[in-house]
């Protein structure tokens, strides 16, 4: 690397800023859509409302982040264009977010692992040099604190519950754990964002996430699975088969009736 490039290493391009925002935005959007699938299917009316509220929080975060990415891009794409007129390879969500609901235990484990990551990430982003992102993080972190309270409470209830609830939540934890490496291992873009003062310092999120999740797993009487390297990276646009199906459903209406309103 030349000296000039090194001197400019703290500079950040428009494309990098957008790419980083899409990781956050798409993770919220896809997780929100997943929870939205459960509307009317929650185990009780009260849980239905709770999951729906969390879904709307997440979609609200996505909306603000996508709108910001659209403004930085400056090519006339608003949050709707970004949400509904991109295909799966253009999505930058963490692979964990797109994993299907399967059963209530799988939903709770996915949300728990993701909520801990979002909470620590937004907490850290409140100090971001990207000021509009810091503003969004201030709002999001309050929502994420509640999401974590909800999902962690359920994880303990299920893990330390009946034989069946323990078995189901253990199975879900085993199946979803491999997706956590992506959340916690910074790639080149994450590292660059840290250097630029936009993203969290490398290693910070892993340390805090690990402490948070380990404590709740212990309380839930659940064994922490061994570390697994994950070969795919949703945040680089390499997704599991599930995202395509999710987007087909989410994007159907605006793609079939462009510009439709109600």
């Amino acid at each position: 690397m030349s000296t000039a490039a090194e001197a400019g290493s703290a500079e950040v391009s428009r494309a990098e800023r957008i790419e980083y925002l899409l990781r956050l935005a798409d993770t919220s959007l896809v997780a929100g859509q997943r929870l939205g699938e459960l509307l009317g299917h929650g185990p009780t009316l009260e849980e239905d409302l709770a999951l729906g509220n969390i879904s709307l929080d997440l979609i609200g975060q996505a909306r603000l982040l996508l709108a910001l990415a659209g403004r930085i891009e400056d090519k006339g794409r608003d949050e709707d264009a970004l949400a509904f007129r991109r295909d799966a390879p253009q999505f930058r969500n963490m692979s964990l977010a797109e994993q299907p609901n399967e059963d209530f235990a799988a939903t709770i484990v996915r949300q728990c692992l993701l909520d801990a990551w979002q909470l620590e990430t937004y907490e850290s982003l409140t100090g971001s040099r990207e000021e509009a992102l810091a503003d969004i993080a201030h709002k999001a972190v309050k929502e994420c604190r509640y999401h974590w309270r909800f999902s962690a409470g359920w994880l303990v209830r299920l893990g330390d519950g009946t034989e069946e609830s323990h078995a189901r939540v253990s199975a879900a934890l085993g199946a979803l754990w491999r997706f956590t490496d992506e959340l916690l291992t910074p790639d080149a873009l994450d590292a660059h964002m840290a250097v630029c003062g936009i993203g969290p310092a490398p290693g910070l999120i892993r340390e805090r996430w690990d402490a948070r999740v380990s404590a709740v797993l212990a309380e839930a009487k659940l064994q922490k699975p061994p570390h697994q390297h994950y070969p795919w990276h949703g945040k680089r646009g390499v997704h599991s088969e599930h995202l395509g199906h999710l987007l087909t459903e989410m994007q159907f209406l605006p793609r079939t009736y462009p510009g439709v309103t109600w």
């Binding site: 009780t44 009260e46 409302l49 709770a50 509220n53 909800f150 409470g153 209830r157």
Partner: protein, 94 residues
Amino acid sequence: MNEDWVLYEVFIRSRSGLEHKHVGSLHAADARMAIEHARDAYTRRQEGVSIWVVPSSAIVASDPGEAEALFEPARDKVYRHPTFYAIPDEVKNI
């Protein structure tokens, strides 16, 4: 509804300085979950700043059969109403 879940009565304080008011009831497995359910069911449109939940079984209610003895004697005692006094404009929430 799961039969293990208990009925809770929910009380919401809409603003600081006001009292908690009964708003409804819901089911939950424990008190923590009852607070979360109350938050999601009753404060999602900014209705509150504080929540109380009480197991419905802990509420002692008056007997409708005793309504006459309990409430009728107050009927002819209009002088107990504060309508004979002018309330200063500065006093709110009475």
